[in-house]
Subunit: 597 residues, 2 copies
Amino acid sequence: MSTVLSRRDLDFLLFDWLGADDLVERARYAEHSHETFEAVLDLAETIATERFAPINRTLDLHEPIVGPDGKVVLPDGLAEALAVYRDSGMPSAVFPEELGGMQLPYLVAQGAFVFFQAASAAAASYPFLSAGNANLLVAHGSPEQIDRYARPVIEGRWFGTMCLSEPHAGSSLGDITTRAVRQEDGTYRLFGTKMWISGGDHELTENIVHLVLAKVEGAPPGVKGISLFIVPKFVVEDDGSIGERNDVALVGLNHKMGWRGTTNTLLNFGEGFATPGGARGAIGHLVGEEGQGLAQMFHMMNEARIDVGLGAVALGYTGYLHALQYAKERTQGRLAGQKDPSLPMVPIVEHADVRRMLLAQKSYVEGGLGLVLYCSRLVDEQETAPDEATRARAHRLLEVLTPIAKSWPSQWCLAANDLAIQVHGGSGYTRDYPVEQFYRDNRLNPIHEGTHGIQSLDLLGRKVVLDGGAWFAELVSTMRDTVERAAQRQELAQFAAEVGARVDRLVEVTRTLWADGDPAVALANSAVYLEATGHVVIAWVWLEQLLAVGDRTGEFFDGKRAAARYFRVFELPKVDAQFDLLASLDRTVLEVDPAVL
Amino acid sequence: MSTVLSRRDLDFLLFDWLGADDLVERARYAEHSHETFEAVLDLAETIATERFAPINRTLDLHEPIVGPDGKVVLPDGLAEALAVYRDSGMPSAVFPEELGGMQLPYLVAQGAFVFFQAASAAAASYPFLSAGNANLLVAHGSPEQIDRYARPVIEGRWFGTMCLSEPHAGSSLGDITTRAVRQEDGTYRLFGTKMWISGGDHELTENIVHLVLAKVEGAPPGVKGISLFIVPKFVVEDDGSIGERNDVALVGLNHKMGWRGTTNTLLNFGEGFATPGGARGAIGHLVGEEGQGLAQMFHMMNEARIDVGLGAVALGYTGYLHALQYAKERTQGRLAGQKDPSLPMVPIVEHADVRRMLLAQKSYVEGGLGLVLYCSRLVDEQETAPDEATRARAHRLLEVLTPIAKSWPSQWCLAANDLAIQVHGGSGYTRDYPVEQFYRDNRLNPIHEGTHGIQSLDLLGRKVVLDGGAWFAELVSTMRDTVERAAQRQELAQFAAEVGARVDRLVEVTRTLWADGDPAVALANSAVYLEATGHVVIAWVWLEQLLAVGDRTGEFFDGKRAAARYFRVFELPKVDAQFDLLASLDRTVLEVDPAVL
């Protein structure tokens, strides 16, 4: 049994449930077939298992350091693993053939990428960020920019970053102060400091393409003044060759609780930025038009948020598989009622509470994986569905689901990692077993790419109200459709009714929250709203999975039923208290005076 | 504002609520006064803040290593901090005057010790384990054993350990295989391997007193065959001087996710234990009679479990104070509705979701501290209450509350640490801020001294049914008494009614669970029972605290009201779904076939 990921489950979700094979009927994917999809998954599983998983602990133990020459030193094995990844063609998975890409559906590419995230979150983050970077340039860059900066990233020769946050501005991007000064040759010079830049400096690739948010001098305050710039670590000459070093300096490395194999940096753009008159500044190239930076970045951010959800699932999933293996091998104690101490000890999976912890993990990680892959299919739908109505519908649904796909796995697959430690007992708390690292690595996910709180404001403050609630209505009708279909099957009728009742409640509570239109009151408990909605959505995903299971029996399908039952019985009822709280328009957090805290 | 602990809150709980001053009326504490109690708390706060807190990160960064001479090397500062602790007399806090002790009430000693646990969990664990060790010997050792082995520990000159687990037997102590061979001189020779021994080897003190569970040859199988032995690292001569090295060998150090400053060891007793005929064996001295080992150890274990709860609270509490300070200093974004980007950013405590996270932490840590200190007062009651009925009542109540006092803070004050990280955002995930260490350190608490699952079996499988349910009835009547008193106060009537309803439900559900007497069914969801009961108990603790607040106003008392309100509105309703699940006698975890996981 693989402890990285369950290929069986992945195949079920991709092909049995989400109909990945149907996509080959679309012109964009006509060159593909079930066999090519499986071949990509095979390749990903092999490389992840053989190259990424073995170095995961090494990356944790040997954090990047800055060598005496000022260069970042990374532990052995990482460059080699990433070279194998590059040579496999994986970096080009979703890109079009004319850019040298595999032109895979996003759904299948995600199914492949999750292996890498499960095998080593830190190693996978270099290609993860690079793909988002290239994707953004392909969407918004000029043909010349795509050729010069995106192609090498798609080929896996260079890596890319996203430079958004600054030391004083993380969630509040409108307050960034990095300045861009227009030059006569059409380029810009950037001056400022960027914080939390993953992959911000290293020697893994010969160049790094930074995508940097900055404000052109004279731009309006707030988010409207933000523009997006390409700032390569080394200037790229007209023939694509590497030129001189750009004015981007590594100030320091951040030291995190987990995710230690990813260099995370503080970067200065324009070394002398305090006295810009005397400094050269970092040469930057505007992407699109001035003032469009945040909108462009959100094109990347939306997919990045789904990918964060996928990464959270991946860590939860591999943790679950490790805990399951341990529970079947480790013996301890006897069953309740077995009083004879001379009987042999039983594998701990025989203890009810251990099974509870395993079922909980299974319900979280398989539910979470289902949601994220469902969203990935929506990305394909919004881009390649044959008719405009379907594309528009997919877009609305995806927008509403994105904050949930990011936050739910970040919360509950971290909870799965917590349970994986608990199943291991004292061993799980040591660095001799991998589950403690998964737990530390996964703790990042509720923070980056928009915190849990930010996601909750995005859902309740934006997505739910946009377009007169039409986006939210799309989610509701989609869930109700599933409930109706499930209600037709006797063995699913009860679960369907329970999900249906919570969907009704969600609609009602959402209306109550916005009844008087006061955002302070509506949003006071937005995190509770996000969490309750997330649980309803995952229950719906489980109902969908059971519909895909149908009448089939056997260990795999019975396992789906068991995990769904766990979620139905142990998890879904939690939302009732949350909805009650929300419906009461409770003002506890709104009214508390910070002075009394 | 101290970020270690709130002295104001501690004084409120000890003196306003739990009436610590009343204890001086008892003969045992007649030498004490409010002033001596306060002096001890002052001393603890000062030493913890000035000596323990500053080395906490150092202990995390520089784990113990085994030097070339085979000796354990600990980071600078630890020995010095512990020497100051020793010289303060703290190790003797609860011990009687005739043993050189301060003869403090347990309640006050706990109030002092929590400062050390909050300042450095790892550093505090050396005296923590030593106090439990000496306490056990004072209770069960012979006068000669007390003089020879407990006195030096009480004086802080030696440290002590508890050697229970073995590599193959952690929770299942009946399965230990360490053997004790009777010698003609009345001593024993021990052969075996002990795992997870905190403080198992170091050079901090000139000797270490190990208390070791082992089975005398010919003893019955299971827990009845367990005896307890004193096994000093160095043999102690008749005059109390240090003799030759005993046959106890350090095999290796465990490397944990947190709590890194505490040496955690694998020890061999009798180096040649594989061929006992040729090995000397470790010289051990039987405590009490053969076969009493587990009962004796539980004397220590019960208090150790309360102390684990206290340690979990301490980490949650200091994390909360750090998060609060950060939230008041860090600025980010603007309030909902403030659209003008040129306005200055606000401290993040102004954001509703940040206040929610702070209130949650406050409700967990102040509720948890209340529970653990209440239990500490019960320890005093069961030992020194003037009449036998009160002592017996305290004993019953303490027994029922112990698994909750251990597990609830281990779960929810860890959750507080999780929220403390979240309040800090990306900074909280770095080792530049202390909250990530608190989170890692606290993750141990649901595991050691009996896992969460073990506590749930202890509560539902033992404590609730013992003596025909009389112990449990004690808790119920105590909570109902509080509800009745609170119902008399208009501002508390609603909360009282809500707690009262949950107490009723707890009684009813407990009856349902045991209705047909099948332990497999009753205990299938014991962890859910533990968690639901824990939340009801903490709600009751909050009601008690509000009664102690009375009509008083001002920031501190209004803060109590706000935290209690949070717990009432956001937390207590969670138990309804848990009770519903329990009442349904759900068989999901009971029935799932491990093969389908």
